[in-house]
């Protein structure tokens, strides 16, 4: 990229006006039959997945693997560096290792993507992907519990061992990084426009501002029930990761009251940021990177804050599904992205939290990178990390059902 052109400016020109993930997500509307077939498959193929227990994959034989110089990588849109239609870090990777990367930004939704993988995994067939990126949550737990992920050989990930942030090492959802390493992380906090400040008569600073009658009708809440429920818990001062079903009911009551009082404008998916940009919402639950991108692409007045109660800290993780054709190539790539140079190039584009803190001084030297390097939303300092909370880790299907049944009636009521 021409270094004289601010990359942020270019992105502003080229990036979504509609929510980046929405279009592709709704493209599935036409292909409704597809999801139906997966549903039919789900009811037809009973418990065959249980047979492929985690024991069979625990003994994955890394020693006998060799490079196939091929890597099929499924990721989320706008989640890797782009320059002139190519991905420089992927090109460098190919030059260095000879591994051709088939990079496809096909993931728009954890649940929908998992629903596509599941029928193959249940039947013991390859999914076609060597690396997929999935957020910590129920789908990831399901993949791990069913033995549908190849355990990683950490001895072949020296960059991870040396450079990974302590925040993503040994996470609660995957103790010992047995199956996953982080791709990027992010915060769920509050974003707002100057209108919220005007309506409240001050800068927002608390989750209570999402419940304030003076911004009624202009509050964006998330339709993801994990995000919604967690905010309800945080508002009550309950730590989500250690919460109990009783706490969930309390949180649901608070959120239901918020709705009954006419305060939320709606429960939004990735489109929440457009709602804020278009002035429909003035204050909203938000993911840190999106706001940073919005600021750089024509909405400098939008702000992201860490409310007094703290933010939720989520992680998108790389993993190798069982049956992957090129596991060693995948492992090689995982090690590659934990190189600080590579991580810096990506961080300067992605604007979420890089898992490699050592990338910070390098980012500062990149074009347009000063603002990125100094942002606590990309390189959180300790003060920032002290304000983070972890999600509740669902213990199983019935646990998840209970959470769903507690919070869904608010969203679809």
């Amino acid at each position: 990229m021409d270094p004289t052109i601010d990359p942020a400016f270019v992105r502003g020109l080229t990036q979504r006006r509609f929510s980046r993930r929405d279009l592709i997500r709704y493209a599935g509307v036409g292909a409704g039959a597809l999801s139906l077939s997966s549903i039919l498959a789900a009811c037809g193929v009973k418990s065959s997945g249980g047979a492929a227990g985690s024991e069979s994959t625990a003994a994955f034989d890394w020693a006998s693997q060799s490079l196939h110089h091929q890597l099929n990588f499924a990721n989320w849109p706008y989640y890797i560096d782009v320059s002139h239609g190519t991905h420089p870090t992927l090109d460098t990777f190919t030059q260095k290792t000879g591994i051709q990367v088939n990079y496809k930004p096909v993931i728009n939704d954890n649940q929908a993507f998992y629903a596509k993988l599941k029928p193959s995994l249940e039947q013991g067939k390859p999914t076609g992907w060597d690396i997929v990126v999935i957020t910590n949550g129920a789908q990831l737990s399901e993949l791990i519990d069913n033995g549908w992920l190849i355990p990683l050989d950490l001895s072949q990930l020296p960059n991870f061992t040396a450079n990974a942030s302590p925040t993503i090492k040994n996470p609660t959802y995957d103790p010992g990084n047995k199956y996953t390493v982080a791709w990027q992380s992010g915060f769920t906090g509050i974003a707002y426009s100057p209108r919220a400040t005007a309506a409240l008569g001050r800068e927002p600073n608390s989750l209570n501002d999402l419940f304030d009658p003076s911004v009624a009708g202009h509050v964006g809440m998330m339709s993801d029930n994990t995000e919604l429920g967690s905010i309800g818990l945080l508002k009550l001062g309950i730590e989500p990761s250690t919460s109990t079903p009783d706490n969930w009911t309390q949180a649901a009551a608070v959120l239901q009251k918020q709705k009954d009082d006419g305060i939320p404008r709606g429960y939004f998916d990735q489109g929440y940021i457009n709602q804020l940009e278009n002035g429909n919402t003035w204050i909203t639950q938000a993911w840190s990177g999106d706001v940073f991108i919005a600021q750089q692409s024509g909405y400098p007045e939008l702000k992201f804050i860490v409310p007094n109660e703290g933010v939720m800290f989520w992680h998108d993780n790389m993993m190798i599904p069982v049956g992957a054709a090129n596991p060693l190539d995948a492992l090689t790539y995982m090690n590659y992205v934990y190189d600080p140079q590579v991580a810096a190039l990506m961080a300067n584009y992605i604007w979420y939290i890089t898992p490699v803190p050592a990338a910070k001084p390098i980012v500062a030297t990149l074009p347009g990178g000063k603002a990125v390097a100094s942002s606590p939303l990309v390189f959180p300092d300790q003060a920032m990390l002290d304000k983070t909370h972890q999600y509740y880790v669902y213990k199983g299907t019935s646990d998840l059902d209970q959470w769903n049944n507690t919070f869904d009636p608010i969203i679809t009521g």
């Binding site: 009811c43 418990s47 997945g49 649940q111 069913n146 029930n225 002035g279 769903n404």
Partner: protein
């Protein structure tokens, strides 16, 4: 003798032809029946079975599958959780149908009677916007009608609308979105039925001193009822099941039954609940339509759908 033989031969031929004639309807309806069986009856049956299943208890998230238990409790859960959305969806669907009928009838009438040589051009123009995916069109409406969008903000500036007015996230936005997207499904059958009306009949009514109003009420409208019926079916049923417009244009209190089903299927993977919700919706609609068809009569309708 020869004659006898010949007539015998003739009879055989006739018999063969009659046999073929008897089989023809089955042959002709075969593909349709097969289609319905594969894509309607079998899925319907699968859904019914699924709605009566329960998840096999499991450890953690291990995939245990479902077992058939005749568990009908899912239906009462479904009704208790979603009866508001069921009623709301039917209500929205009804309003959408009326709105599209009121908007589509004059357009179809004008094209059919006054379109002259350019009927196809007008029809094409009518359909042109619908060459774009309906999701993108709804997203465009979201953009245009947003609080700071060109319409609302300018009308507020001119004091035509009160400050803080918004249209998105209301029932009106959702109904309007569905109505807009359904318009061609109303206009096309209406156009076909109006186009088919024998102009001599209209002439005759005029010759008998009927006023234009009387011509319309006593001749054109009754003759276009099959089109209205078909338009109703093609508009009402998809409108009740729609979930995209609410997703894009709706708010916290406009959730439709389609959204509830989508969430149960895709987000929560609660297949029995989602199946019972779908089954209630489909059976409810089917019964309603059968009654409707019975009342309006179906003989002519078949020509129009």
């Amino acid at each position: 003798m020869e004659q006898h033989l010949r007539s015998d031969h003739h009879g055989l031929k006739q018999k063969k032809a009659r046999g073929r004639k008897r089989l023809a309807p089955y042959g002709l309806t075969g593909p349709g029946v097969l289609w319905l069986a594969i894509f309607f009856l079998i899925p319907m049956g699968a859904m019914l079975v699924l709605s009566l299943e329960t998840r096999i208890p499991t450890v953690g998230f291990r995939n245990s599958g479902y077992q058939f238990t005749w568990h009908i409790g899912e239906y009462s859960t479904a009704w208790a959780q979603a009866h508001v959305q069921f009623v709301r969806s039917l209500w929205y669907g009804a309003i959408v149908t009326i709105v599209t009928l009121l908007a589509g009838y004059p357009a179809a009438y004008w094209i059919a009677f006054k379109g002259g040589h350019h009927k196809t051009t007008y029809l094409f123009l009518m359909l042109l916007p619908f060459f774009v995916s309906f999701v993108i069109r709804s997203l465009a409406w979201q953009f245009i009608l947003s609080d700071d969008g060109i319409v609302i903000s300018n009308l507020e500036r001119l004091h035509i609308l009160p400050q803080g007015f918004h249209i998105l996230s209301t029932s009106i936005a959702v109904i309007a979105g569905i109505a807009y997207n359904s318009l061609p499904f109303m206009v096309l059958p209406l156009y076909v039925s109006l186009e088919k009306i024998d102009r001599n009949v209209v002439e005759a009514a005029r010759d008998l001193y009927a006023t234009p109003g009387q011509v319309f009420r006593k001749v054109i409208l009754p003759l276009s009822i099959p089109g209205i019926f078909a338009g109703f079916l093609l508009t009402f049923i998809p409108a009740v099941g729609d979930y995209v417009n609410n997703d894009i244009l709706g708010g916290p209190n406009t959730t439709m039954i389609g959204n509830v089903i989508q969430r149960a299927f895709l987000n929560d993977q609660n297949y029995p609940l989602a199946s019972s919700l779908s089954f209630i919706l489909m059976v409810g609609l089917l019964i309603g339509i059968l009654i409707y068809a019975r009342v309006l009569g179906t003989r002519q309708i078949e020509e129009y759908i």
